[in-house]
Each structure stands twice: as C-alpha cells, then as structure tokens.
Symmetry: D2
Subunit: 301 residues, 4 copies
C-alpha cells in the first residue's frame, strides 16, 4: 500500500518517540523532506538544525532482533536551490594548515531538475563552467536505538543516523537492526550531491520527495546497517576514528559472508583481501562512516 507521511513536528534526535504513522510490512511510504537547516521546498523554515527528521514511522511486525529493510525507490528534488559550506572542514587537512583555510561561509547551488544537474549560483574563479550531475542521497535515516536512547541527528551508530554516505540513493536497499517494537523509522537531510567524506561538512543540502518501501526481515540478527545496490553489497561502520569505523564494517561483512554466502572466515579473508572496496561515507560528523563493499560479481548466494 502507498502511504504518505505528512510531517508537522520535526525531530533533531532519533529515538523512542510517539509514531506519527503506522504502516504494514511492505508498504511504500512517500514523504517530503526539509533540508538540514530546517527549510522546506518553499524556503519556509519549520525547524532548527541539526538535520530535522520526518517520523517516526511504526512498522507493524518489526521486533528487536529483526531488520528493517528500506528500499529507496526514488528521490525527486523539490527545490531549485541547495546549499553547501564553502571551506573544507578543519579536521580533514593537516592541523597547521587550518590557519590558512577560508571562512566556513555558505554557498548556494542552482538545481536544474530537468537536466538533473547542479552548478554554483555565484561561480568563483576557476569553476565558472562547472556543471555536475545530481546524485540524490539520504544523509540521515535510521531507527530508534537500543536502551530507549534518543540520539542527536548530528551523529550515527548501529541504528543508522547521520551517515552521509553517497550510495544511500535511489536503487539502494538498506537493512537496519531493529531495537524497538515497530522499529520507529526516521528520515531526512537529503543531498543533491556529495563527495566522499562530506569534507565541507555538507552535501548540496536541499529538499526532496522520497519514496521508500519498508519491510521487516524477521530475526535478521544484524549488528550494523547493510546495503545492496544493483552491483554491490556493503556493510557500514559508524565510529571515530576511521580505523574503528573500518573495523566495524569489516567485522559485519565477515559475519554476512559467513551466514548468507557460506564463506568461513578463511574463505572470506581470501575474497575480501583481493576484492574489497572501502568507501569513506563521512569524515566530518561526530561518528565517521566507512562502508566495506564487495561486488556481487564475486558472490553466489
């Protein structure tokens, strides 16, 4: 069934809050997201940052130990502008180099919904002709975490959250570990485009109509978010520093290859050692995000 989520109150945390919509296992949900600073498609501010969320959605049948499967079916941009910060973040350059960084102002990008491209509204020297293809992605989404926690949408964890990974776009399916009955799903903070690492501290922040199918995978017993694109499977680790995020993602991938692909740890080591790809989702938020990714070309289920 197709369900529309209309939001009146946005949340700056992901946690055990009263659901604003209840859906059945397998329902498709459509919702309009506002941008990371709380502005909607008309430029009206509905909330303050960080990353105000739509939700939570109660998914019938989801219980702790299950996974919530989120199929990102489509993302339609609903505004003709987006914004970014105008300097790389201080933590991604050599510490002494920070003294010479430009201020962290805001820049506006024009979004062409017809050609699905973006360009700087006020071009600066050297980038006068830069036109980039749009690659929509969800910056922040997740389910209520364990222990009844409510955690800021600035950060992320096992439950998802502000992962800012560019592969969380249309065509990708994500599984999140469920900690509360009904999962309690939140979504928001979409980007028209973002490089690896979100190194300016933002993608191109704008508004979207997002369409997702939400389903329950019973007793999935996963620890970290897992995803699948048309070509790859991947696991997510969210932590600081990058080394630890990578450890979480790699451990989760070894578990996945063991349970679903019949590969013991030695076999999985041989495969990953020669074909694994690591993506740096973000290296800016309180928890960084690393994806451990494997081409489906080398896997048989």
């Amino acid at each position: 069934m197709l369900r529309r989520l209309v939001v009146e109150t946005y949340h700056n945390v992901i946690g055990k809050l009263p659901p604003v919509l209840t859906v059945n296992d397998g329902d498709i949900v459509v919702t309009d997201t506002i941008d990371a600073a709380g502005f909607d498609k008309s430029g009206v501010r509905h909330a303050l940052g960080p990353n105000p969320m739509n939700g939570p959605i109660f998914v019938s049948g989801a219980e702790p130990g299950d996974a919530l499967k989120v199929e990102i079916l489509s993302m339609t941009p609903t505004r003709d502008t987006g914004w970014t910060r105008s300097s790389v973040a201080a933590n991604v350059v050599d510490p002494e180099y920070v003294r010479g960084l430009p201020p962290r102002d805001t820049a506006i990008w024009t979004i062409d919904q017809h050609s699905m491209t973006v360009r700087l509204q006020d071009p600066i020297p050297g980038l006068e002709d830069l036109v980039l293809p749009m690659r929509p992605m969800i910056g922040c989404f997740g389910v209520a975490p364990s222990l009844g926690q409510s955690i800021s949408t600035a950060t992320s964890g096992e439950y998802g959250g502000n992962m800012d990974y560019r592969l969380f776009g249309p065509g990708t399916t994500v599984c999140l570990p469920v900690f509360e009955t009904g999962a309690l799903f939140f979504v928001g903070d979409c980007h028209a485009l973002q490089g690896d690492g979100e190194i300016v501290g933002t993608g191109i922040e704008t508004t979207f109509e997002v369409t997702m199918r939400l389903s329950v995978v019973k007793e999935a017993k996963i620890t970290w978010p897992r995803g699948e694109t048309s070509t790859d499977i991947f696991t997510i680790g969210n932590a600081r520093p990058l080394d630890q995020a990578l450890q979480h993602a790699t451990t989760e991938m070894l578990e996945w290859l063991g349970r679903d692909y019949g590969l013991g740890k030695t076999a999985a080591s041989h495969l990953l050692g020669q074909v694994v790809r690591y993506d740096i989702g973000n290296v800016f938020d309180p928890a960084y995000t690393v994806a451990c990714r494997v081409s489906k070309e080398w896997l048989k289920r």
Copy 2:
C-alpha cells in the same frame, strides 16, 4: 634510452645507498622484481623480507626540490604462482573479534599469464569457482628520504615506500618528491591483485618484469606523492591513523589544485566537497596509505 637494471644485492631499506645504475632524464628502465619474501621467478630465494628492493637508480639531473616522475609502462608477470596470507589482519576487525580469527597461514594462488587471471591453488569451500582478473601493481617504490634516512621497506612516508595502493599499476604516472641528488629510486614488492587496504597483509605476492620511464620535473616542490591515471589525478598521504593519512592527502590536493589548476582554497573546497573520492591504499603497514582522488572530467588545466 632503454636501460635494464639487473640486481645482485637487494635492500630492505629505502635510503641513501650507492646507486647500482645511473640513467638519464627520460630513460626507460626494465627490471625483474622478486617477491615480498625474496623469491625470484624461479623460486630461488635471494633476500629476506620485508619487501627486498631493486635499486637504487641514480637519475641524472634530479635535485632536492624536484620531483621524480615514474611512468609505469608495463608489468609482465614472470611466475605462475603468487602467495597471500589466509586471514584478515587483526587490526581491521573489532578487537574482541580477533580471538576468533583463523591463523595467518600462507595460501598459494595460480597465475594464468595467458588469461591474466588468478585463482586459489587449493580452493576452499565456497570459493571453488573463484577466478579473479589480474590487476598488477607495485607495492613498494620510492626515493631516498630526507636527512640521509634509510627507512624499512615495511613502511612509507613522503618519499613513497610500501604504500600498497592498487592504482600504482600500468598506465599510472607517479611523481615523488626528490630529497637527494639523483633521487635514488627503488622498486619491488609487486602484486598480481590486491583489494583496498591490503587487509590480509599481502596482495597476491609474485614476480614481475616492470618497465618504467623515469623523468625529472624541475622545482616541482611537491610534499607527498602524486599520481595520474587515464581518468583521475590523486595525491597520497602515508601515516597512522587513517585520519592523518587522509589529512596529508587532502592538504596536498588543495595545494595541487591551487598551483596547477587555478583553484583557490574556496573553489577547491567546492569542487572536492562534491566530487572527491578517497581510496584506502593499505590499512596494514606501519604507515597507512590514503589516496585523495579527483576525476579529470571536472578539471581544466
């Protein structure tokens, strides 16, 4: 001019050692590398590990402040076997998970030089049919470091070294900062294939005939290795943890975009923020390697 480097004594350090060959700016050098444990194409051991090096080569005209340009023209496998470790390294999984890792034994891979593929010699359950395409790469190469240092080929730094980055293969051109007159170039430790991060601690370690053109870029004034493929440019940071390697690589890219592409720091931030890719070369050696990579599609020189 085409020059052949024949090696009698191998080195486990990269440093200010007596050159075994002197070449002119622009000469092409062909050399046979032995594997990371010192075995040659016939299985004869010539040296102990880590990563015995061919060299050093004195490149006429290279002075401190210049860069040595290394064009990797071709890599021809010269042995029909390679070896890997058979467990992911302890530092790439969650610390408590280490207790359950398999031992770090050695596995043999068969190299098919005709089809340019590799497969495990003794397949293990789940990987019976795994045949992977060969992607030759140089694991360790570099020039004599600053201050007259001689540094183990287990690690890496501004001068290059054991970077274990899978894009250091045929078709890639690398620039290394020169610290000593003649640069003093070393090369060895080639892999038939390796995933991101070198997470089993090896690629498929084997022997190659490597062909490279060595040229001098006067007063290049670079700080870290830089590279170029047919589609991308990239900078390298070598350090622990990953966060610092990424800082070095990003800083070097900002400098490069500023000097050669006319992009001030704000313009470079806008570009990198939306298009940058980070690759994890290795997350195993004493210094990790991160590449900051940009598609040439977005650059005009």
Copy 3:
C-alpha cells in the same frame, strides 16, 4: 538542606526524564548507588546494566548556559565485595596479541571497610599478598544532554556520563554544563578502586552511599566538564580516539585559563607546555576520557 534520594526505578540512559527529586541550589544529597550490573548492597538485583543510574534530580535555578557544581563530599562503601573483569580489554594491547589473552571472566574482591583496603577473594599466583588501598570514585554521573537526547550510560560526552576517571572521588568538585532547565542530574556506577584507563573494562564495582552538594553556577558557559581537587584543576574531554579527547580537554583548559586566570593563549601555552599533566580516565568505553590537569601551585586567580 540535606536531602535523601531513594530510588525505585533505575535508568540506563542519561537524558530528559521526569525528575524523582527536586532540590534547591546548594542542597546536599545523599543516595545509595547500586553497582554497574544493577546489584545493591544486599546483593539484590534491581536493574540490568549498563551502569544503572539514580536520578534524575532537578536542581532549582539551573538553566541552559549555567553549570551544575557537584561537590563530592563523601563516599561510604556499603558492601564487602566488589567485582572486576579478569583480563585487560582487547583494545589496549597490540591487535595480534589479543589471540593470547585470557577469557573475560569475573573476579570478586573483598572490601575491608575498616582498613579501607581491597584484595582478591581468590588470590592467584603472584598476587597472594596483594592488598590495595581503596580509592572510591564515581564512574558515571552527568546531566541531561543537549537537544533532548537520552544517551546510554555506557558512554560519555559534554554532559558527563561514563567517564570512569579516578579523580572523581571525595574532595573533588566537578562543574557540568547545563543543557536543560533543572540540569537533571544522574549518578551511579561507583568503584572502590580503578587504575588509569579502566583497562580491564571495570574498576572494582560495588555499592556506595554517596554524599554530594549540588549548586548552580550562573552563566558559566563551559563546554566540557571541569574539576578541582585540593591540589589541581582539570578539564575533561570525552571522545574517541584518545587524540580527540585530549584535544577537547586542552581546548577547554585554554578557555578556562583565559577567562578565570587572565592568561591569554600565548601565556597559557607557556604555562601548559611546561607543567600540564594528562590523565587517561578510561580507554575502554565507547568515548574515551582524557583529563588535562594543572597544579594550583602555578595559578593565581
């Protein structure tokens, strides 16, 4: 006024929960804490881990931007046993060394309340005669964090939390930044003794009667917890890795020396450079704790 906090329901999060006691600015609060696994002084289990908390206490007059001053007046042990884990944690040794660590069993310690000493109940070879002086400390305490968050008592942040720093004992005064009206103070998880880093993952976990005075410092505008003993002042940073925790603590100390001790950043650098001490509170919890400490001998207010 002396107030007694009697607890019926314990919390595994620190957050915006309904207060169970309201006190005036300057009141003294006495409360019985249970141990990290939820057992009380009689060995009855009242809650599950991690670190069940007493509270929250609403402190009249506390508003966001203020600090809550917590004077730890006394800690009286109320049980004659405590427990610890029996192996150092996997993350404090070299990764490959983890394979040889003993299992993480539980050990019981006998607490002698008369001599204020502890010893292993079942001594093991080499430690037959080990008797250590008790050094009571509060492992986990804090105020409701920003944004309405509720965060697991396994970890810590600007608001305090599971810092596991051995100087949080009787005679120490701590200031915590206030984010919610009334501050909403929580306390629990006390230790009879603990080394730097909490490297076995526990101190000697037991029950105490804790007596604290709670006061409001108006418009203190602090960012991280600050403390004072009879001899030192210190600031706290909670983050991973240790490097970042140290950065937070050092930054907070520079701010403190600037505002309250009249030291500009150059003067503060000269002082800290020659006299600073860093303590590692914990290197086990999701966020590590580093204290930046300065002897009051060198300070004039």
Copy 4:
C-alpha cells in the same frame, strides 16, 4: 671507567653510523649535548635541527637480542638560557580552534643554575611571577634500529629516539633493545623542563653535561624501551595515534610482568587494572610516546 665523549660531527638520524667512541660494558660516559636547534653552551651553532645527536657509542659486548642499560646519573645545565615555542601545537586543540591560535614564535627562558629554576626572560601578562623548578630530561636518545635503518631524530620507535618523556631524567634507568653489534648509542636534545605531551612542540631546550652508565643486559629480549625510577617501573610505546602507543606500552608491560615478576596474564590484568598509570610523553612528534607505569610498591621480584 669514566669516558668522555667529545663530539665533532652531530647526526640528525639514529642509525648504523661509524662509532666515535667505544666503551666497555659498565663504563660511565660524560658528554656535552647541544640544543635541539644545534646551538652549544656558548651559543655557537654546530648543526641544524632536528635534534642533533652525540654519538654513536659502541658498547662492547652488546649484540642483537640484548638490551642496552642506560643509567642517567646526572644532568648539569651548561647554559643560562633555554627556548620554547610560544603556542600550543595545532594538533592538541580542536581543529576549528586552530584558527585562533597565536603564531609559533620562540620564547627565551632564563635558567638559574644555582636555584635550579627557570623563568620567562620577557614575562607576559599573567605570568610575571612564574618561577618553575628545573626538571632535566633527555628528549632524544636511542640505539641503531633494525634492518640497518637510519631514522630522523624527529621521531621514535622500538629503538628509542625522540620520545620526549619527562621521566627520562637523573635517577632513571632505561633499557633499550639492541639491534646492531655494539648497540650504537646516540644522545642529545635535553630539556630543562617539559610538561606532559610536549604540547608546545618543545621543552625548555638547552645544553647539558650528561653523565650515564652504559651496560649490557644479555638476551634481555625486550621489544620496547623499559625504564625504572626510584618508585616505579615503566614501559614505552612510540606510535601514532596515542591509542596505538598505549597498546605497545601495555603489551610490553604484560610481557615484563610475566617474565620477571611471575605474573600470568590474568594476574597482570588484575594488577594493572587497579594500579596502572599512563603518562603521555609526547603528543607532538611524528610518533607519539605513551608510558605504562606501575609503582614498585605493588611488585615483588
């Protein structure tokens, strides 16, 4: 026997260089060190930085697998000034905070050899009356590393090097693992005083007459430097980030407690868990230094 080492040529690396003095096992060596920038006690510059070294000294009888025992008998200041940097280093504060740090100028300190105190030559507001006690220490010393390496005196490793730990002063005995016949000992870079972490990037850099006894401990089979003061034993880990330096130091302490104090890993865990102290030697150099320290009060040999 008392031997005097007079230096003509200083070294910016620690490595396998021709010895300038050969001593017997147990000889006492006296030498004048110059400061980190190469200036001697008369203000004459003899060398450039980083940290020019006296040595190497060949110690008869030292073979790979042994340890070189260095007893620091005395350090007499030989100049009435020292210098420091005048801002904390960029890497010890929050990254965005770097923008507001003062420049890294040089400050001069007056050394009073009679009272053994130091004070800023040009006092700055707030520090007009600051007089600090001198605490002499050796910033950089070590033996030739493995594999014939020569490594910059800016950094450190298993062989010692630029550890910048304030407990390396008179009364401390240090054991260094030997990698080359004769050990090849280097020493220099002494400080009149230094806080934890060397967070301004220097101690009070000056010149000393250093007196040490050098002895050989046969087949000591240690991996990292170990030390002993009148009250404590400690192990050293040199690496980045702090987390890894701490892992090295803790692992080495577990090995030491096992071999020399009869404590199995469980017993050692119980002891360290409740009594260990960690000191941050430096958090500035390319490799950071962490000491794992235990009071001798709790040990019986």
